[in-house]
């Protein structure tokens, strides 16, 4: 009868997760950050005979967070997860392209033991008794720390990724409740047709063009649409619940309108790649790993405007910068970013003209009535408000406008304003990107995509294409961290490949620690009182 309480305690422990394997924090800190359990930095000698320490000596930058390695020029950093270290190179049925991965193990790989692995880390002698290449540092680790690191490697990327079955890859796309309905339809149209295209083709019969040779991903794709509802404060919880109910391998594309921050936090907390959503206000977080964005959006525009103000404030005799935005919309944060960046400059005064979120038209005209010469207006407004600007420009301000928010070259900016407004334009110019707009996106509902959603269509397609090309490069190693790492490499290749692969952007590029693929923009103005023709006032600027 004494077993009953014991069983009860056991059940409670199991339920509470206390039975889960403890996270090897010591090993993780050594691997990712080069910090020893003592708090001292990890030390090693590099290829040039120099002692390096701390993050410089850590494993993650070269062997990647997933432990599956990377490649720079002719230097391959091999996979160092337990699976690849301790097993012979064999024809694994479940990893049948084991031998042919971009970072491969030698066919005559001798499996490591704990002892020979420790020796390779400290003395650079491989499991076959031969010296490792010079690019691998030689490490200084005591027995306990070495054991912690080896234990970490044994468990690294060892679990099967969620959302991956024998023949299906599950992906989710996330849509905020305030997303524009037309953009939502256009995005889902692209996603559904791309996914259908992936599943239609019998992969064993697939015809490949000469530059599309790749590892055939025989898995089909399934899309889960995660439509959020209610207040942003509830989104994270909704997403965690959806993920628990529908495990997915990664999040692809997606659509926001105002804040995206709760989604960004979810991606990082759930350790799930969130690839290239359609958001104009991403989260600028240098510590996050999983969310990847096309560009800094309005934050990038804020930098372009800050730079311009700093350079031209004297020339343009600007005495006061007036930011005009709707409360709670993405312009507010961008305006604050400009204010922060210019507050120490010679810009004498900044006014935050916050209009009520639900205001309409007249409040905008009223707010602008007191504009005077010497003012620089910065319009962080959506097309609806842009269309409601007074016909005549009050005062003689210098006017900047967010091209992203205001409708890009389709903005309903009134003619009088077109003469004086400088738009930030964080894309390639329309005529320059035109040759790239031939991506095979098919016909949207048999007709034309509304102009306001053209960029969403292009970006969604590029996101899918990036995912597809990257998966083909992963050699069946469906590890979430590895997906992020391969995208870092793949985007560079896509950019140099030409064709449609960069879409609206002149260049898409990432690297270790980089999460914004496009980094610059133009300042443009409208060429004519009406129509979509733009004139670039600057070259491509990277602020």
């Amino acid at each position: 009868m004494r077993t009953l309480p014991a069983i009860f305690i056991l059940l409670v422990l199991l339920a509470s997760g206390a039975w889960a394997a403890p996270v090897n924090l010591n090993g993780e800190n050594i691997y990712r950050y080069g910090i020893l359990p003592s708090g001292e930095p990890l030390r090693a000698m590099n290829a040039a005979g120099i002692v390096i320490e701390g993050k410089d000596a850590s494993c993650d930058p070269c062997h990647s967070r997933s432990g599956l390695g990377t490649r720079e020029a002719q230097f391959t950093t091999l996979p160092i997860t337990g699976k690849y270290l301790f097993n012979p190179s064999a024809w694994y049925p479940e990893d049948k392209y084991y031998k042919y991965g971009p970072e491969l193990i030698a066919p005559d790989h001798v499996p490591y033991t704990d002892e020979t692995l420790a020796r390779s880390i400290s003395d650079g002698i491989g499991s076959n008794g031969r010296e490792l290449g010079v690019i691998m540092p030689r490490y200084e680790l005591n027995k306990a720390d070495m054991a912690a690191l080896i234990d970490y490697l044994k468990n690294l990327s060892a679990d099967n990724a969620p959302g991956v079955t024998k023949d299906m890859l599950h992906f989710a796309t996330i849509i905020t409740p305030d997303a524009d309905p037309t953009e939502r339809e256009v995005m889902l149209d692209i996603l559904n047709r791309y996914f259908a295209g992936k599943n239609l083709v019998d992969s064993s019969k697939r015809r490949l063009s000469s530059n599309e040779i790749g590892y055939l991903v025989t898995h089909k794709w399934q899309l889960h649409v995660w439509q959020l509802s209610g207040a942003p404060e509830t989104w994270e919880q909704q997403l965690h619940q959806k993920l628990a109910a529908e495990p997915v391998f990664a999040v692809i594309s997606g659509l926001g309108h105002r804040t995206w921050a709760p989604v960004h936090r979810f991606c990082e907390q759930a350790s799930i790649p969130c690839l290239l959503p359609n958001v104009d206000l991403p989260v600028a977080d240098t510590t996050s790993f999983y969310p990847i964005y096309f560009s800094g959006g309005t934050l990038l525009e804020a930098q372009l405007i800050s730079n311009r103000l700093a350079q031209e404030q004297a020339l343009l005799k600007i005495k006061r910068v007036v930011h005009v935005f709707r409360e709670g919309d993405i312009g507010e944060e961008a305006a604050k970013a400009v204010h922060l960046a210019t507050s120490s400059d010679s810009v004498p005064e900044t006014v935050m003209m916050a209009l009520k979120a639900d205001g309409a038209g007249q409040d905008l005209s009223d707010a602008l009535k007191n504009t005077v010469a010497g003012d620089a207006l910065v319009l962080w407004l959506r097309p609806r408000d842009i269309a409601a600007l007074p016909a005549a420009v009050p005062g003689s301000p210098v006017v900047f406008m967010s091209g992203l928010m205001g409708g890009e070259e389709y903005s309903p900016l009134p003619p009088a304003w077109r003469k004086v407004t400088h738009l930030t334009y964080p894309f390639d110019l329309p005529e320059r990107r035109k040759p790239r707009m031939n991506f095979p996106h098919g016909r949207y509902k048999g007709g034309k995509v509304p102009a306001t959603a053209l960029r969403i269509q292009a970006d969604t397609y590029i996101a899918c294409y990036t995912l597809s090309t990257t998966l083909a490069n992963m050699m069946g190693r469906y590890v979430r961290d590895y997906l992020v790492e391969r995208i870092e490499l793949m985007l560079n290749k896509m950019a140099t490949a030409g064709s449609f692969a960069t879409g609206y952007y002149p260049l898409l590029s990432l690297a270790y620690g980089q999460r914004f693929a496009s980094k610059g923009g133009y300042i443009v103005r409208f060429a004519d009182p009406s129509g979509n023709k733009l004139v670039a006032e600057t070259n491509w600027i990277v602020p």
Binding site: I50, I52, D56, T70, T76, Y100
Partner: protein
């Protein structure tokens, strides 16, 4: 070029081996076409080359490692294009004038988020600077970023502080086009920034040839090359 393998389920062992051989053949020719590609080790390649894979087909980069050094030394002349790069302090730097102030130049190409090759080069530059001591001010140490869009002047300043770069060691950025042009001039452009080779270049004075150290020269080896250059001139 990545390997193309059909679904193997229905292929017999013999056909699998044939497919393997054919694929290796495709690979070998594909290597000659694809500049950015290291793929596969030929059966029998030694494990010691695992971390320094040779690219079949690019024999001009084949390292015949001299005993006890990890680099290959050649001398070359390069024509530096007329481009204007941007120094880490944001000021404009016209080339080739920037390199032609008469001082010896020690040059490399890196980017701040590079993880495998560049840190070795940057640490080496830092040690070279340290070993030169007061003499460092007589040398123009130059590091040109090959990821100019991420490596803004502000980022370069932060990066150079990490390596305690003195005023004689300047980091450069610029437009994508100009950065590609100058990489091409020094034969270090390989398309994708992640394919860049590890190279340190030294020149005594304008008009003299450049010494090219491809691989990982130690700081002492770089200093030795530097001394040979200035002794000659």
């Amino acid at each position: 070029m990545e390997l193309f393998m059909k679904n193997q389920k229905s292929i017999s062992n013999i056909r699998r081996h044939i497919l393997l051989l054919v694929s290796c053949g495709i690979l070998a020719t594909g290597q000659a076409l694809a500049a950015d590609n290291i793929f596969g080790m030929k059966p029998g390649e030694q494990q010691q080359h695992m971390h320094m894979d040779m690219a079949p087909g690019s024999h001009e980069h084949h390292h015949e490692m001299a005993a006890a050094t990890n680099f290959k030394r050649t001398e070359d002349t390069y024509t530096v294009p007329a481009v204007t790069l941007v120094r880490q302090d944001g000021s404009k730097a016209p080339f080739p004038a920037e390199m032609d102030d008469g001082k010896p130049v020690i040059l490399d190409f890196t980017y701040t988020t590079c993880t495998v090759i560049c840190p070795v080069l940057s640490h080496t530059f830092a040690k070279v600077q340290e070993k030169l001591g007061n003499e460092a001010s007589k040398v123009h140490m130059m590091t040109i970023s090959i990821d100019p869009e991420f490596d803004t002047p502000a980022r370069l300043v932060e990066f150079s502080k990490k390596f305690h770069a003195g005023p004689q060691w300047i980091h450069y950025t610029g437009t994508s086009g100009d950065i590609v042009a100058i990489q091409n001039a020094f034969d270090v452009y390989r398309g994708d920034k992640m394919n860049h080779p590890p190279v340190i270049l030294l020149r005594a004075t304008p008009g003299k040839p450049w010494v090219r150290l491809e691989g990982f020269a130690t700081p002492d080896e770089v200093i030795r090359e530097y001394r040979k250059l200035i002794d000659k001139s």
